[in-house]
């Protein structure tokens, strides 16, 4: 082995070791972010589900019930149908991972 080769092999080993260290450090940072992303998804999913249920409840139950006695006959039926025909929304969290 020539001395120059020894130097370059040494440099290469140092570089590889540094790369390995950086790779591990970066992977640690990335891994640490996963629980946060999971939490954002979980929170937003629950909030959107709550909103979806609440909005549907308003058109299917609350508003038709509150209208009772206000309108009669065909008008009452027609108004109830109008509310109940409003489709349920599908609100899924836009967070992709987690």
């Amino acid at each position: 082995m020539y001395p120059d080769d020894a130097v370059s092999i040494f440099d290469l080993r140092v570089q590889e070791a540094q790369q390995k260290r950086e790779r591990i450090a970066l992977q640690t940072i990335l891994t640490a972010k996963i629980p946060k992303i999971t939490a954002i998804k979980s929170t937003s999913t629950q909030q959107l589900k709550d909103a979806e249920i609440a909005m549907y409840d308003k058109t299917q139950n609350i508003l038709p019930q509150n209208l009772q006695g206000g309108l009669q006959g065909a008008a009452a039926t027609s108004a109830q149908t109008f509310f109940k025909k409003i489709a349920r929304l599908h609100l899924s969290s836009p967070v992709k991972r987690g």
């Binding site: 570089q15 540094q18 790369q19 950086e22 790779r23 450090a25 970066l26 992977q27 940072i29 990335l30 972010k33 629980p35 946060k36 992303i37 939490a39 954002i40 929170t43 937003s44 909030q47 959107l48 709550d50 909103a51 249920i53 609440a54 909005m55 409840d57 308003k58 058109t59 508003l63 509150n66 209208l67 009772q68 006695g69 206000g70 309108l71 009669q72 008008a75 108004a79 109008f82 509310f83 409003i86 929304l89 599908h90 609100l91 899924s92 969290s93 836009p94 967070v95 992709k96 991972r97």
Partner: protein
């Protein structure tokens, strides 16, 4: 001033007790002579929050149930407190003449000159191996009065306008760090919870951020009442400070309770692109008042008298299903504060009068805004000042109307059953119009609520993506760029956030609102026809 009506929530009890003139008081000057002597001699003072509080034989505050340690806590002495001479005149630009004070109290937990008052409370008479829970309680501003000007001028205003590291924080950090050290040495089983109200929340969260990372594990919970979001101020601090808060958030240990009608609670909230600190709970207030309203029997929206408790001691909070108007009001108030502060900053002369000072003045003197116009050097007209006040009141009034609509509807339905003839028709018309208004309000409220959920989630994802990007390129020296790109690819915003889904949600909620608006229009038309048909039929017999 309006107080808690029961002691069911330990954090609310402690936070309220940190103020002056409350049912249970921690401030030294409020204590009886024997209690003062106890503290002076290095002993603690016992408080039992399970007991009813009576004034002249009448129960004014009901004792708490299901409290930790059955409601017993011990206010610990602060042996470092000394009376310090101060010949310096405190001068505030808002005052015509300066305040002078010859002495003040100063110690680890108290610095009257700086407006800092904290209390260390435990569940045993002394810190020892039996201690399980300790509490660090920071008082907020008593009021925007002359005696507390230092709180408002130096701390609130600088925080509000510049997201600054507020002066009291350095004192709080030192005090908290010292108490955690004592706890670790003398009470190894104990955990500490941190609580505060108003200015006390800003001091608390900034103090926690500045603790050494090794102290964060000693924190059991952080429960903060009616304070602004402090994310922007934390982001200006060190990486370590930001990490401290993130660790506690990830463990679900930070809770903020905010009143949606309170200017201080809603400051810095619901801002696009800002991930608010902790879990945010919207309190369900007893009544509909402004921050500075003192006439209501439950007090200002900034006060404890507005709190409602569940039987288990938790605070009653608004839910998306039952109280959309509460969330909508909170969001509107946040936007109103942002917009008003920005506008006031633009017209005022910096250093002469702060925008928050003007806003506070406006709310206290809303009906006589003329004085404000003078203070604003004529740059704010009376009409502008009055308009700001009116907009604030309208937000609260709108929420009140929506909250009370349910009772109105019940009343009208009962009257329809009980009456006949033209009176019944009048009630029918009124009912249909109420439901029409309710439908329109639901559409508007839920559209705003859902948009806010999406905006907040997107802000948090933006922050994660940004942090990964910054960390990766700061760290990278030897790794090939292509490898770093590949490693972080799954953490870029486009990999984490489905923009199409987000847009679809907004489209769906817009359509929902439009359908409810259409229903509302039809109902109003039907209401008019109910009345018209009756009148036309009547006319047939009059000819």
């Amino acid at each position: 001033m309006s107080n808690l009506d029961n002691f069911n929530n330990i954090y609310a009890n402690l936070t309220e007790s940190a103020y002056n003139n409350r049912p249970a008081n921690f401030p030294f000057k409020e204590l009886t002579l024997d209690k003062r002597e106890k503290l002076r001699s290095g002993n603690s003072v016992e408080y039992d929050f399970s007991k009813d509080m009576k004034v002249k034989g009448k129960v004014t505050v009901h004792g708490g149930k299901n409290l930790p340690n059955n409601g017993k806590v011990f206010l610990q002495p602060d042996p470092t407190v000394k009376v310090v001479k101060d010949e310096t005149a405190l001068s505030f630009p808002i005052l015509a003449s300066p305040i002078t004070s010859s002495t003040y109290h100063k110690g680890l937990l108290t610095d009257e000159k700086a407006g800092f008052n904290a209390y260390f409370v435990t569940d045993t008479p002394k810190l020892n191996e039996k201690t399980k829970n300790a509490y660090f309680v920071t008082r907020g501003s008593d009021a925007a009065g002359v005696n507390t000007l230092n709180d408002w001028w130096s701390n609130n205003a600088s925080f509000t306008l510049k997201d600054a590291y507020i002066p009291q924080t350095q004192l709080a950090t030192k005090a908290l760090q010292t108490k955690i050290k004592e706890m670790k040495q003398q009470a190894p089983q104990a955990k500490i919870s941190i609580t505060g109200h108003s200015l006390g929340t800003m001091v608390s969260i900034q103090a926690i951020a500045n603790l050494p990372a090794s102290d964060i594990e000693a924190i059991e919970r952080v429960v903060l009442f009616q304070g602004p979001d402090a994310r922007a101020s934390i982001q200006k601090m060190s990486k370590e400070a930001q990490m401290n808060i993130k660790h506690l958030e990830a463990a679900g240990k930070i809770d903020y309770y905010v009143n949606p009608f309170d200017l201080v609670s809603m400051l810095n909230r619901n801002q696009k692109g800002v991930d608010e600190i902790g879990n945010i709970h919207y309190l369900l207030p007893k009544s509909y008042t402004t921050t500075f309203d003192r006439k209501d029997k439950n007090g200002s929206s900034h006060d404890f008298g507005q709190y409602q408790m569940n039987a288990d001691g938790t605070l009653k909070v608004a839910t998306l299903k039952d109280h959309p108007e509460i969330f909508a009001a909170g969001q509107k108030l946040s936007a109103f504060i942002d917009q008003t502060l920005t506008e006031l900053e633009r017209v005022l002369i910096p250093g002469v009068l702060t925008a928050f000072g003007v806003l506070s003045y406006l709310m206290t003197q809303g009906s006589s805004a003329a004085g404000l116009v003078i203070k604003a050097n004529g740059k704010l007209t009376y009409a502008q000042a009055k308009a700001i006040y009116n907009e604030y009141v309208t937000i609260i009034e709108t929420a009140k109307i929506e909250s009370q609509r349910k009772q109105t509807i019940n009343y009208l339905q009962t009257q329809i059953q009980a009456t006949s003839g033209s009176q019944k028709i009048q009630y029918q018309e009124a009912l249909v119009r109420e439901v029409a208004a309710q439908a329109a309000a639901f559409g508007e409220e839920y559209q705003a609520i859902v948009a806010n959920i999406i905006d907040e989630a997107e802000a948090e994802i933006d922050q994660v993506a940004q942090e990964v990007e910054t960390a990766a390129w700061t760290l990278q020296h030897y790794l090939p760029v292509s490898e770093v790109e590949a490693m972080i690819a799954d953490f870029r915003k486009e990999a984490l956030w489905d923009a199409v889904e987000a847009a679809s949600i907004k489209v769906q909620t817009r359509a929902y609102r439009q359908q409810l608006n259409e229903a509302s229009d039809k109902l109003n038309e039907a209401a008019t026809k109910i009345k018209d048909a009756d009148q036309q039929a009547a006319k047939l017999f009059q000819k």
